[in-house]
Symmetry: C2
Subunit: 228 residues, 2 copies
DNA sequence: AGACTTATGGAACAACGTTCCAGTCTTATT
DNA sequence: AATAAGACTGGAACGTTGTTCCATAAGTCT
């Protein structure tokens, strides 16, 4: 919270710090879901009081943004160092997008947080990665903004949906049975008013989310190339 | 809450009903934002108690979904009746997407709600509209699912971002000055680590959201046509 | 007229984010 | 070594929220 003019010597091994708080928050989020992260639960896990946490963290939104950035930073770092050598821009974009997707798959709360605040640092990281590859793709300068933000919106949109879906089948139910339940409900809709949704319902339970996500990315990439 | 086997005679002119509750909720949401909708505020506006509201509405999520559906139903109804006559599928998709965009622009809370719950009825309405036009576009059956959901994800992604942005400049600040503030922050980022975001920052304050949104739609449409 | 369902409104509950504050520990200065 | 000043801690307390409970009224049916 304050700037430290001198080098900090360690207090104790279990001293509080933003990093330790964020890691504990991630552990709670991963283990028990988005609703389980409260300052009381966090304080209990860190064996302290809620007030102490506020010395290192501005508020809950700050905490969630830091946790999200912690996860996304690993993704962007890993992807950019691995994909730089001899990959086409298209491949790099696919790798980055899939990295984000897998991160959300492993930490569903990240999806919700990403889609909720477009100006947080984690989103900026992804936009930078996507934008750089859009440039490398040879898209003219005026079109780069629209191309990169379109990819971003698609990624964030699916992030939010996936996160909501994960929340939906929180306990016990796995993804397939949860989707089957939704599909069953959709299949009972009025055939005249909702023909397409009924057709989708048939495919929904056994579709591959990763494949669907990648297909969307490829669709946008094809669109970008067609207007290049 | 219960099924009514007989026709309901009216109680009083000011009798509570789900419709009246939803309309009051929309009025609060539009006037004072997402954070202002509480059951206490709602009860005060309807001159009743919070308990009475729960007779007509399951919980807050149900209320928000109903309010969102109220807004989106108007959009889909208006677009489908107007755009049917002599419009290409592409034009119909653009009209539908723009209708959703304008609805979110007029009611920013709709954007947040749409991106938060992908299985609510309002989303289903949009998917049906998009999907029908994707079929009309001549996309082969196996590809329809990916094409329609990609359009949906993009729309919902931008919906969430736009809603978050609207929340961001809640009081006094208009959109341009709010974006200028974000752009100023981005312009101060490290040029080596974030070259693209800095370039975006220059364009950000004076860009047109509607145009950006439409450009994304057209990009995906171009992608769909290129693989047709 | 009574019995039963539908509907109302206000009190009460548990949980949350956040603030406050009385202390304790660490470091720098005398 | 003593002391002052800041950094940090932990737990109590505050105000607000969604939701539940319940006594009671209004309407409907036999």
């Amino acid at each position: 919270m304050r700037f430290m003019t001198k080098i900090r010597t360690e207090r104790r091994a279990d001293a509080l710090s933003k990093e330790r708080i964020v890691e504990a928050a991630i552990a709670i989020l991963d283990q028990d879901g988005e609703g389980a992260l409260t300052f009381r639960a966090l304080a209990a896990r860190l064996a302290t009081g809620s007030g102490a946490i506020y010395w290192h963290v501005a508020d809950k939104q700050d905490l969630l943004a830091a946790a999200t950035d912690h996860v996304i930073a690993q993704v962007t770092a890993q992807v950019t160092t691995k994909a730089v050598k001899g990959a086409t821009p298209q491949e790099a974009i696919r790798a980055l997008a899939l990295g984000v997707f897998d991160a959300i798959d492993a930490h569903p709360w990240v999806g919700g947080q990403l889609s909720r605040d477009p100006f947080q640092y984690a989103v900026l990281r992804i936009l930078e990665g996507v934008g750089g590859q859009v440039q490398a793709l040879g898209v003219p300068q005026q079109a780069q903004f629209n191309a990169a933000t379109a990819l971003m919106s698609f990624i964030l949109g699916l992030a939010g949906q996936y996160a909501a879906g994960a929340e939906f089948h929180a306990r016990g139910m796995d993804r397939t049975t949860a989707l089957r339940a939704v599909a069953a409900k959709w299949a009972q809709l009025d055939p005249i008013e909702h023909p397409f949704v009924r057709q989708v319902a048939a495919v929904l339970p056994e579709h591959d989310d990763r494949e669907q996500f990648l297909a969307g990315i490829d669709l946008i990439l094809a669109g970008i190339e067609s207007v290049r």
